[in-house]
Each structure stands twice: as C-alpha cells, then as structure tokens.
C-alpha cells in the first residue's frame, strides 16, 4: 500500500497516537497502515529474515497500542519514538539470535545487500531528512558509511570493524568525529 508523507506528518501521527491511547482501533489501524511498512523495512534490514521481522513488527505494534498514552513530545517525534521501539527490539533480537542462525541469514541476504554501501533514497523525504542528507553529505565517504551502516543495519563497533576492515579504534574515533560534526551541522542543540 502506498503511504503518503507530509512535512507536518508529526501532527498527523500524534493525533493517531492520541486516538490509539483512547482505545480507538480505527486510529490505531491508520497508524499501522501509515507506519507499519516503514517500520518493517527498518526491522527487516537489521534482522534480515522476513518471518522474524514480521514477528517483531507485531510485538512493536502491540507495545505501541499499550504505551501510546505515555507518548509525549519530549520523547521525540512520533516517528522517532516508534522507530526507536522497533530498532531496539530488532537489535535485541538480532544479538540474541545464535551465531549459526545469524551467519545463515547473512549468507541468504548477501545476494541482495551490498555489504559496504547502503543505497539511499531520499525522495519524498521531509525537511528534517533533507537536513540530515545535507549534513551526511558533508562527511567523508568512509565515515558516512560507518554512520549509515551502523544505523541501518544495527551493527556494533566490532561488526563495523569487521565489515569495513578497519581497526576497532579507528571505527570508534570515526563515529565520534562524524556524530559530532553531524550535531554541529544540524545545529539543533
């Protein structure tokens, strides 16, 4: 299903979260239809297995249903709040999975995913995304790749070090410098 994006999506999603908190299933269903496919993409990229990713998506939305009433603006934008729930759940699950399963999943996924470069599609992105795109663009490519890979695939410092064939210390200092520069570039405190 096609989803529509708007710069003031924050208000729309906040209204749907409010409806969800009030027990309105129609609003919860709309929230799922709007954000479910995007959250599934985020989860799938981390855990790499469709069935596992859909199980996690289910858990994430059950949690959103239960905790929508606790959402407030100080938890970030609605999309950031929900994405954080989804990523944390996916990362926890991925790191708990035994090594054999992980290796198998990685091999199965290898054909589809370039191991070092993340395809980026900023079409239809909002103002915040464009600002991030601009600031990421100002980083050197290896540093940018480290940040993007870490976020999109949920990699640890050690996994980044293996993937990018760089010493652990280099990865850490790359990230430290890159993130600091991103913060300065975004200029949002």
């Amino acid at each position: 299903m096609e989803t529509l994006q708007y710069t003031d999506e924050r208000e729309d999603l906040a209204a749907l979260l409010l409806g969800t908190a009030r027990g309105r299933q129609a609003d919860f269903a709309a929230l799922y239809r709007t954000t479910g496919p995007r959250l599934l993409a985020v989860i799938l990229r981390i855990v790499r297995r469709r069935d596992l990713a859909e199980d996690i998506l289910q858990e994430v939305f059950v949690r959103i249903w239960r905790e929508a009433g606790g959402y407030q603006a100080d938890k970030g934008s609605p999309m950031a709040w929900m994405t954080t729930i989804a990523r944390n759940r996916a990362i926890d699950s991925w790191r708990r999975a035994d090594r054999q399963r992980r290796n198998q999943a990685a091999q199965e996924a290898q054909a589809e995913i370039d191991e070092t470069v993340v395809p980026m599609n900023w079409d239809g992105a909002g103002d915040e995304a464009r600002a991030l795109q601009h600031c990421l663009g100002a980083l050197d490519e290896p540093q940018r790749n480290a940040v993007v890979l870490a976020y999109v695939e949920g990699l640890t410092h050690q996994e980044l070090s293996d993937r990018l064939s760089c010493p652990l210390g280099t990865i850490k200092s790359w990230l430290r410098r890159s993130l600091w520069r991103l913060k300065e570039c975004l200029g949002d405190g």
Binding site: A14, T34, R38, L39, E54, Q58, Q133, L155, W180
Partner: protein
C-alpha cells in the same frame, strides 16, 4: 566540563545508533533511566537519525501480521457514544435524519482535556509557532469500517481549511466533498478535496467558534464538480468530531 559533555553526547549518540553491546549497552540504558540530561540527549540523537530509516523502501507486511496484532490487543474496545442526535434543521431531507443520527453518534466523546493534550503535543512538538489565541480545530475522519483516513484542520484566523489524506484511497470517478455539520444546521460544504494529496481551501463560510465546538466534519462522494444540490448526494464515507486546539 566540555569534555564530559562531549563524552555524554558520544555515548548518547552511540546508544541511539545501536553500536553499543553487552555491559556497555546495559550501563548506557541504565544511565538513560537515571540521568535526565543523558536521556534527553539520546532522544535527540534518535530523532536526528530517524530520517535514515525513511531512506529504505517500505515493505508491506503480510496481512496476517495485522490479524495477529488485533488478536493480541484483545476484543474491540467500545467507543463511547452520545445517545442523542443534535437538532436537525427542519426543511432538509428529513428522510436522512436517521442517517445523520448515525453519523453524529459517537462523535461527542472528545473532552476538553483531550484537546488540550493534543494541543500540547503540537505546541511542544512541532515548529508551528505560538498557537496561543489561535482558533484552530482539527478532526480525524474515519468511516464505519475504515480507519482514520483524513486529517482536516479548520483555521478560523487564516480563514482556511487544510485536508490531507492519511492513506492512499481509490474513489474511482467520485470526488470527495468536505462538509461541516455544526450549530444544528444542515451540512454545509467546505469544498472539494483531492484524494491524492493535501489541499488547502479558503474558508468562505462564516463559522462561529461556538458552532465548531461539538461540530462534525464529513466527507461524501460526489460527481465531478461537487454536489449539484448543495447537500450531500452520494454516500458519506468518512466523518469525525472537531477538536478545539486551544
């Protein structure tokens, strides 16, 4: 001090990024629970990085996922309803009274505190500026079967109505027309909408704030060019109560 701040930012960013593991991650999660400044820094980093997730192509979940979610959250909750229909002006389509009673049932559920909450979310969460003193109303419109499908704002100060579809819709040849039902009057048209995207309409009606409080918005499907009669002629597919943002 500057170095401490930088270390805190570095840890917060790495927690948000997901690169920490094991004891390091547990310690950072614990700090997030106990140190408000650190927790805020993590939230800000999550927010900064969230657009990265939007660069991935959305993946449509299997329909079974939603069925499992519905099963997990238990039986349908009962939406509180208001048993009485608002007064209906005499002289218009009396045969439709029963229909409008259905339409307006269940829309009087919104308490002032709820609107306040919504306003506070928007005030603190979105760069929309100071809303104090503004006269804005919002409604999410849903159908009898379908989930919330439209978000509409009525802005009396700017004399405009903005409407955005929340989900893609296939209405065929029909054109969605927006109506306001308020102040005990028959539906009044606010204009034609675009199922494919947001639209801002000039507000030509003189609507009093008293009317909008407790008012309802509805969308009917009309022939091209809109209702020929000035009243809804096609099915009313979405409706929702107006909330004051004050």
């Amino acid at each position: 001090m500057a170095e401490e701040l930088r270390d805190m930012e570095d840890l917060a960013a790495n927690l948000a990024l997901g690169t920490l593991q094991g004891e390091e991650r547990e310690a950072a999660v614990f700090r997030q629970m106990t140190d408000p400044a650190f927790a805020r820094a993590v939230t800000r980093w999550s927010e900064r990085l969230t657009p990265l997730g939007a660069t991935l192509a959305p993946v449509e979940p299997d329909p079974a996922v939603w069925r499992r979610i519905e099963a997990a959250i238990g039986p349908r909750k009962v939406v509180p309803t208001v048993p009485t229909a608002p007064p209906v002006a005499s002289g218009w389509a009396s045969g439709q009274v029963g229909f409008w009673r259905w339409l307006t049932a269940g829309t009087g559920l919104v308490a002032a505190g709820l609107a306040l909450f919504l306003a506070s979310v928007i005030l603190t969460g979105a760069p929309t500026g100071d809303l104090t003193g503004e006269r804005r109303y919002v409604a999410t419109l849903s159908g009898a079967e379908s989930p919330a499908s439209w978000m509409v704002q009525v802005d009396l100060d700017r004399s405009q109505v903005s409407a955005r579809p929340l989900v893609a819709q296939s209405l065929g040849e029909a054109v969605p027309e927006l109506w306001v039902i308020a102040g005990g009057e028959a539906p009044r048209s606010l204009g034609l909408l675009d199922a494919g995207g947001a639209r801002v309409l000039p507000l030509s009606l003189a609507l009093a704030e008293d009317e909008l409080r407790g008012g309802v918005l509805a969308i009917s499907l009309e022939p091209e060019g809109g209702s020929p009669t000035g009243q809804p002629t096609g099915p009313v597919v979405f409706q929702g109560a107006l909330l004051a943002l004050d």
